[in-house]
């Protein structure tokens, strides 16, 4: 974990209200693993006061990319960043996806909305392992779908404007039930309602699944105790999203 002032290279709009920011950090680009995140002080001064955690979306050379929706204070500031300006970045943070091991043959990647964020890094890593990969992206509408750096993408939209008319989990269920994908392990990221639906499915069907969670964070590195994730069947009641996650085995958490 390092703290670094990183120069911004570009901020590009890639979909409706969705932007990709590229900053330069050799140490982070070379050390970050899929599913890990960085914690960004979007602006100097006290508004916003706290850092904002972002999954690392992709890396190219010394460039590190994050992808974001403009939702509030922090992302509004990030969108306005210009080449040469710097941002204060803390990372790599958190526990990455477990992409290795022989307990699965097919990697099933599911992203709801901006839950796509950690999937490109995971895809690139998984391709090295030679595993089969299938991807399911869900979104409100086609206009906010971002499907770069992915493999075998199946798209679901709530409004039916593209691909399957419905959500990514239902689409994944359908296709996985066909059995064409042997010994799957699911890597998922998205809104909590989506992850809840997914959790029910994987527990019922006893499918391996890791999810990357999202929620408020005070520090991002374990000193504030501000990011509890409820555990099941563990002695301790809560894990810390920032330190023990953001990726968790779906069997172990209560959403």
């Amino acid at each position: 974990m390092i703290q670094e002032r990183c120069p911004v290279e570009t901020v590009e709009q890639v979909a409706d209200n969705v932007y990709v920011l590229t900053f330069v950090s050799k140490s982070i680009s070379t050390s970050i693993a899929p599913g890990q995140f960085v914690n960004v002080k979007t602006d100097e001064g006290i508004e916003p006061l706290l850092r904002r955690p972002f999954s690392v979306y992709y890396t190219q050379g010394e460039g590190v990319q994050i992808i974001f929706n403009v939702i509030g204070k922090g992302t509004a500031v990030l969108r306005k960043k210009r080449a040469g300006e710097t941002i204060d970045v803390l990372g790599p943070l958190g526990v990455p996806f477990t992409l290795y091991g022989n307990d699965f043959e097919t990697a099933v990647l599911i992203g709801g909305g901006l839950g796509v964020a950690p999937l490109p890094m995971a895809t690139r890593e998984l391709m090295k392992t030679g595993k089969q990969i299938v991807t399911f992206l869900g979104a409100r509408s086609a206009s906010i779908i971002v499907d770069q750096h992915l493999q075998h993408v199946n798209i679901a939209t709530d409004d039916g404007s593209k691909g399957f008319h419905g959500n990514a989990v239902d689409l994944a269920k359908q296709i996985l039930s066909s059995g064409t994908y042997p010994r799957p392990k699911i890597f998922a990221c998205g809104p909590t309602p989506m992850l809840r639906a997914l959790q029910t499915y994987v527990l019922e069907n006893n499918i391996l699944c890791e999810a990357s969670l999202e929620g408020p964070m005070g520090c991002g590195f374990g000193i504030c105790q501000g990011c509890p994730v409820e555990l099941v069947g563990e002695e301790k009641r809560y894990a810390l999203m920032c330190k023990d996650g953001p990726t968790f085995d779906m069997k172990k958490i209560k959403l």
Binding site: M1, I2, Q3, K41, I46, E47, P48, L49, L50, R51, D88, L90, G215, P216, M217, G218, C219, G220, F221, G222, I223, C224, Q225, G226, C227, P228, V229, E230, K236, R237, Y238
Partner: protein, 314 residues
């Protein structure tokens, strides 16, 4: 040669900047980001007799210039602290203050006794912003008699510095400061968080699972300064000033109104080296103003108007 150190009782702090309880874990969480040996002191997360899971999510929400927290004093408990954290803390070249929280006076005593029986803790800070089960959950810290009694009971059990951390959620904090001073406290920490809340208008639910929580950060600095100023004019014991300190200028304000030292809290979440940078900033300020002892900043405020703190026309 600039003198940066100060004492509480016989304990020497090498500079006037500490990290506040609950905002730096047990001191061993971010060693790769900040060298704790450069701090004047480390105050641990509040320790309770038994481990505490803490409150359900959400525990944190950002507000204008500040944040609300409702951690629920999640901590590993004094026993695990002694075995898992003290060994490291013994190696640290900074004063180690154990912060204690409890829901009965006996429990405060039990935690302190346990810590007394081991090497490594240099002093105690008592968090009285805790529900008192005997009184149906009314906070100890808003009851002057109880706060005084806690102080007296604990005083009799240790010779190490005993620091009472006062809550700002009272009418006259000076009363409480006087009470704990007379009961033998070596110092007071001013302030703990202010009670606040926030609402998610989309869901019509409180942002925090416990509805209300503690407000901290730059937003509360003016209130904290006034509480320290009020306290400084009421007691002779040292005051550790806390509340919204994020830079050197903030820390200097606290020293000038009468704080003997400062604690940095929320700022650590943004920059774990904030306290170290502030200690360095105070040093630079003194050198630039040819000040020989950081102590000469304490209470140097030039305030002719001796008006009462609580009773101005608002």
């Amino acid at each position: 040669m600039l003198r940066t150190s100060f004492n509480i009782g016989s304990v020497v702090f090498k500079n006037r900047v500490l990290v506040a309880s609950g905002t730096y874990g047990y001191g061993d969480e971010c060693l790769d980001l900040a060298d704790v040996n450069q701090l004047g002191g480390i105050i641990t997360k509040s320790l309770s007799l038994k481990p505490r899971d803490g409150n359900p999510p959400a525990r944190i929400v950002e507000t204008a210039g500040g944040m609300l927290n409702s951690i629920g004093l999640a901590n590993i408990g004094v026993t695990r602290f002694v075995t898992e954290k003290l060994p490291f803390l013994r190696t640290v070249d900074a004063v180690v203050i154990a912060n204690i929280a409890a829901s009965t006076i006996d429990e405060y005593c039990a935690v302190l006794d346990e810590l007394e029986s081991h090497e490594g803790v240099d002093g105690y800070e008592i968090n009285v912003s805790c529900p008192n089960v005997k009184e149906g959950g009314l906070s100890f810290g808003t009851n002057c008699k109880l706060t005084e009694e806690i102080t007296r009971r604990l005083r009799s059990r240790t010779k190490k510095p005993l620091i009472l951390k006062l809550t700002p959620n009272v009418t006259h904090i000076a009363e409480f400061a006087r009470a704990v001073e007379s009961a033998g406290a070596d110092a007071v920490s001013v302030i703990n968080t202010l009670i606040g809340m926030a609402v998610d208008v989309r869901t019509r639910k409180p942002m925090l699972s416990t509805v209300t929580g503690g407000l901290s950060g730059p937003a509360i600095k003016p209130i904290a300064l006034a509480k320290v100023y009020e306290t400084a004019r009421a007691v002779k014991i040292p005051i550790l000033g806390i509340g919204g300190i994020v830079n050197t200028n903030d820390a200097l304000e606290f020293l000038m109104v009468g704080a003997t030292a400062v604690q940095v809290g929320t700022a650590n979440f943004v920059d774990p080296a904030a306290g170290i940078k502030i200690a360095e900033g105070i040093r630079r300020y003194c050198e630039d103003h040819s000040i020989a002892d950081t102590g000469s900043l304490v209470g140097c405020l030039d305030a002719k108007a001796g008006v009462s703190v609580v009773d101005t026309w608002l």
